[in-house]
């Protein structure tokens, strides 16, 4: 069973307490966005086989949203972090790199650059 530590209240929560919320760090389109940008924001998911950043809600705990870095091919969890950020913090990146030396972050492509 998947267990994640909620960074908001510090509790190590198991899956039945949590609600998955899909891919994290999606950039909301602004008024200048065209149809393609809107479609991509709503539907075009990375659906990565490997390192995945995703939203979770501690539904039957503190009720707050947070983010997690997890491998969808092995179910390994690299860490959880606050939802109030546009990209994963350095310690999460380090944790992923330690476990997956060939992994490179790609948030220069379509994530906002730090």
């Amino acid at each position: 069973m998947l267990t994640l530590t909620c960074p908001c209240c510090g509790i190590r929560a198991e899956e039945t307490e949590l609600h998955p919320g899909g891919e994290a760090h999606l950039v909301r389109i602004g008024p200048e966005g065209d149809d393609a940008a809107f479609e991509s924001y709503l539907f075009a998911r990375r659906n990565v086989k490997g390192v995945h950043f995703e939203r979770w809600r501690h539904a039957y705990g503190c009720g707050k949203w947070f983010l997690a870095a997890r491998c969808t091919a092995t179910l390994q969890v690299f860490g959880t972090y606050s939802a109030q950020t546009t990209h994963p913090p350095a310690e999460i990146v380090d944790a992923i790199r330690a476990a997956r030396p060939d992994w490179t972050p790609d948030w220069t492509s379509d994530w906002t650059t730090p």
Binding site: L42, T72, T74
Partner: protein
């Protein structure tokens, strides 16, 4: 091209002949060729949908210069992992059209393929266990009758007569009625893959197993071929039919799909004497049930909520499914469960499939069947073959293009079915 070895016609005479010579004369059902340098059409994925696509390319359009490339063994994906429910009682018109085409093709598929796929139209019931479901299923019955799909509404007593092991009284979710499709049922999943594979091989097509596609070669926005674990293979047209790995293949070709991959599980009990001769789905509690010919109760539930490629689901979902089902089927509580497994299903936002052209010329996708595509194999292959052969969708595939997401023209079956098996 050397002629492929023919597998010989299966018949009662063939069985009698072989019985007299110690079954020494059966030949391989399909050939195991090395890949050629290029094919007119490459289909990636030898699940039911990929094999059916190849079969109807040959049968309906005379295109037999086809390879079906499979990273594992044919039928080893979701096609060999599902609970084999076949029905066509969908709400929206485009869905009813393609699923009913599929169901009707299943009726004669054993004869068409000369391979017993054990289609068993034993009847299918969807239980209504809330007021909302009563309204929803009655609406579906009316819609189905307008679409030419024969379904009817049954009251609790009629259901009890058909399914004596049903507990009508709840307490949490009483049985309030149900939608009944008399020509719904099941078929043998492996046999569907094997029957199509044998027919494709007999037409001279290549089914190349243990061959993973690792790259897609394009030039000037047009497909040129694929890179595989057995080398480069060229093609004029490429059909991507890989269910849970659709996003990965699309990424190789340079585009994204509105798909997320999650695990769906099923389990079977020890075999018991015949006790239920219809398929029963209880969508409110996310459980569905049929009895196999061997006597096992075949049980399926809901998907996991998070992205997953491990073919392993969460234990808690098995628990949820079983907990819900034993209220409605109390006798299940005495059964031992024998096996449990998972598959990676390709989910779209509107819970409807994608049969579509793509941003790359010559590449077509067939995916998004999610938790409910076994029933669709013949109809999907039929429609996909037309799309690949002509380059534009025919009437069955028309509504299921990728452009529906941009245009907000969804074929919403998520509200209609809740669970979409």
């Amino acid at each position: 091209m050397p002629a492929a070895p023919r597998s010989g016609r299966y018949s009662v005479f063939a069985i009698a002949r072989e019985a007299l010579r110690h079954h020494s004369g059966w030949t391989r059902a399909w050939a195991d060729p090395a890949p050629r340098d290029r094919y007119k059409v490459i289909v990636v994925g030898a699940g039911g949908h990929g094999l059916a696509t190849a079969y109807y390319l040959g049968k309906n359009f005379g295109i037999t210069d086809v390879a079906v490339i499979e990273k594992g063994w044919l039928g080893g994906g979701n096609t060999g992992r599902n609970t084999t429910i076949i029905r066509s009682n969908y709400l929206q018109d485009p869905s009813a059209a393609i699923y009913e085409k599929s169901r009707s093709l299943y009726e004669t598929l054993s004869q068409d393929l000369n391979y017993n796929i054990m289609f068993s139209p034993r009847g299918l019931i969807m239980l209504a266990q809330t007021e909302h479901e009563i309204r929803g299923y009655k609406r579906t019955v009316y819609a189905n009758n307008l679409q030419g799909v024969s379904t009817e509404w049954l009251d609790p007593q009629q259901l009890k007569a058909k399914v004596p092991i049903l507990n009508l009284d709840g307490p949490r979710y009483p049985v309030l009625g149900g939608l009944y499709q008399a020509r719904g049922g099941t078929a043998r999943h492996d046999a569907v893959a094997w029957g199509y594979a044998r027919a494709c091989s007999d037409m001279g097509m290549h089914i190349i197993q243990n061959c993973e596609v690792t790259g897609v070669r394009t030039e000037g926005g047009q497909v040129r071929g694929v890179t595989t674990s057995k080398g480069e293979i060229g093609c004029d047209k490429l059909a991507i039919v890989v269910a849970g790995h659709s996003s990965q293949l699309a990424e190789m070709a340079g585009f994204r799909l509105p798909i997320e991959s999650v695990a769906l599980q099923a389990l079977v009990s020890e075999p018991i004497k015949p006790c239920m001769d219809v398929v029963v789905m209880a969508n409110t509690v996310h459980g569905y049930l049929s009895q196999s010919d061997k006597g096992e109760m075949v049980i399926g539930g809901g998907t996991d909520g998070f992205n997953n490629f491990t073919q392993r689901g969460s234990w808690q979902h098995v628990e949820e499914t079983v907990r819900a089902l034993i209220e409605t089927f109390p006798m299940l509580s005495r059964l031992k469960m024998l096996r449990q497994w998972g598959g990676i299903v390709d989910m779209t936002g509107d819970r409807s499939p994608i049969l579509s052209t793509t941003p790359v010329g010559g590449i077509f996708v067939n995916c998004g069947w999610g938790t409910g595509g076994f029933k669709a194999i013949p109809g999907s292959g039929w429609a996909m073959a037309e799309l690949v052969a002509k380059g534009t969708p025919g009437p069955l595939a028309e509504g299921f293009g990728l452009n529906r997401f941009r245009e907000g023209r969804f074929i919403d079956e998520s509200v209609a079915a809740g669970v979409a098996h």
